[in-house]
């Protein structure tokens, strides 16, 4: 079969991207291989581990479980968007670093983007520890036992709430 190719337009971390892509390629593959955004990690490649989580129009999605063409017209955020313009860690990243959230950190991009979407939700009070655990339950970490990761997100939530009320 000759390659089935279609145009794809989306914004990735605020930049407009226009490509022509083969229909069978996933969003994760396009991000990593065509756009060089290798912060998005691929592990299980069938939606179980959460390492490839990115934000699509503000919502957490598995980029390995989406054809890139399904993201046509959408706004993608990847883990590369979380740092400040000068490359310094963003607040969520800093909170997780301060909590020693990760060890090998292969899973970190997925956890960070899942937490990023949770923190971006418009709500009066930040999520509780139980809610954080529930929201992170779709991301696997084989190093830490998760407590430090939940600690890190909780630390970010606390800082966010304090900043809002300041």
């Amino acid at each position: 079969m000759t390659a089935d190719r279609h145009p794809l337009s989306m914004t990735v971390n605020g930049n407009r991207i226009d490509l022509v892509v083969e229909s069978r390629r996933t969003l994760a593959e396009i991000l990593r291989e065509d756009l060089g955004l290798t912060g998005t990690h691929l592990a299980c490649e069938h939606g179980v581990c959460g390492a490839c989580t990115v934000a699509l129009d503000g919502k957490a999605v598995r980029s390995c479980l989406m054809l890139a063409l399904q993201a046509d017209g959408g706004a993608i955020e990847t883990v590369e968007s979380l740092c400040d313009d000068d490359g310094a860690l963003g607040p969520l990243q800093q909170a997780m670093a301060d909590s020693h959230s990760f060890q090998c950190a292969f899973c970190a991009p997925g956890f960070l983007m899942t937490a990023h979407c949770l923190l971006a939700e418009d709500r009066d009070i930040g999520p509780t520890r139980d809610e954080i655990r529930e929201e992170l339950s779709g991301n696997l970490c084989r190093c830490t036992g998760y407590q430090s990761i939940v600690d890190g997100v909780e630390r970010a939530v606390t800082a966010l709430v304090e900043a809002r009320n300041a």
């Binding site: 279609h6 083969e22 390629r25 479980l65 054809l67």
Partner: protein, 290 residues
């Protein structure tokens, strides 16, 4: 992933036209949370994918006199977060937190889960318990299929290869009726080893008028255990009746055994879930809440 031709029809007519043209060579893509893993694992290799995710007419949730209707492009998260769902379709609302994880629910669709007909998934069992109807279109017209006739076998539904499931309709939720969904899985968000969607309707005299016990992960399709439902009808919704029903469930259900759990373990868990779900559903029925 194997190569295929990608189609993005703008209308239902166009979509069913493509299905009529390509037949068994085509698969429908909605949210992709079941199909894309199958493609990634090379367990499915369709020549054509028909992406219905952009069809406007399929994107609506409707709470009308005919019931609670969910279009084929509506995602789990849309239903989960809709303020209408808890009132109009409480059993669907109860199932939502059990379906995968947030990121899965942000993409996966209600109708996609039904059409996929995984017997370990929540929504087929919910549809069966709630007497839902599938609204199905093909190039030659529309028909409806009751949930009881829809799930034929493992990943097999009554949909013809040229047909598109355009919506699922849950009948209006009766008064004094409660629902409950519970499951046991190895990890939260995984497919259930066994799960149950239960409905209890209580009459004016305080006795059970209607009961539905619809199990998932317990066979090649979602399974209603009617013998246990019959045990409940006419009884007061109390722990003794629930225990009797649970006993009937454990003895009559015939779940599969595999390397995740033995058949005997699943049958035992089915009984435990029966007691828990009936207590919760009856409490919701008599407490006035959903």
């Amino acid at each position: 992933m194997p190569a295929f031709c990608y189609h993005r029809p703008a209308t239902v007519e166009e979509a069913v036209g493509l299905l009529a043209e390509y037949g068994s060579d085509a698969k429908v893509l909605a949210g992709g949370q079941s199909l894309v893993p199958l493609l990634a694992l090379r367990l499915s290799h369709p020549e054509h994918l028909v992406d219905i995710g952009r069809i406007d007419g399929l994107a609506a949730v409707d709470d009308g006199p005919a019931g609670f209707t969910v279009g084929a492009a509506v995602r789990h998260a849309d239903v989960e977060l809709s303020p209408v769902t808890g009132r109009a379709a409480p059993l669907v609302a109860a199932a939502m937190p059990h379906i995968g994880h947030r990121a899965i629910r942000n993409r996966g669709t209600v109708c996609g889960s039904l059409a996929h007909a995984d017997p370990a998934a929540e929504l087929p069992a919910v549809a069966l318990a709630a007497d839902a109807e599938m609204v199905v279109r093909s190039a030659s017209g529309e028909r409806t299929i009751p949930a009881a006739d829809f799930f034929l076998g493992y990943l097999t539904s009554a949909l013809d290869e040229t047909e598109l499931l355009t919506a699922v309709r849950f009948p209006s939720w009766p008064r004094s009726t409660g629902g409950s969904v519970a499951e046991v899985s190895r990890r939260h968000g995984d497919y259930a080893l066994v799960g149950l969607a239960a409905v209890v309707g209580v009459g004016d005299g305080g006795r059970v008028e209607r009961a539905a016990l619809s199990f998932f992960g317990a066979g090649a399709t979602p399974v209603r255990v009617t013998e246990a439902e019959q045990v409940l009808v006419g009884e007061h919704p109390d722990p003794a009746a629930f225990a009797e029903a649970a006993d009937v469930v454990t003895k009559s259900i015939e779940p599969p055994g595999d390397n995740h759990a033995t058949a005997a373990y699943r049958a035992h868990v089915a009984g435990v879930l029966t007691r828990r779900c009936l207590a919760e559903a009856a409490g919701r029925a008599t407490g006035g809440g959903a």
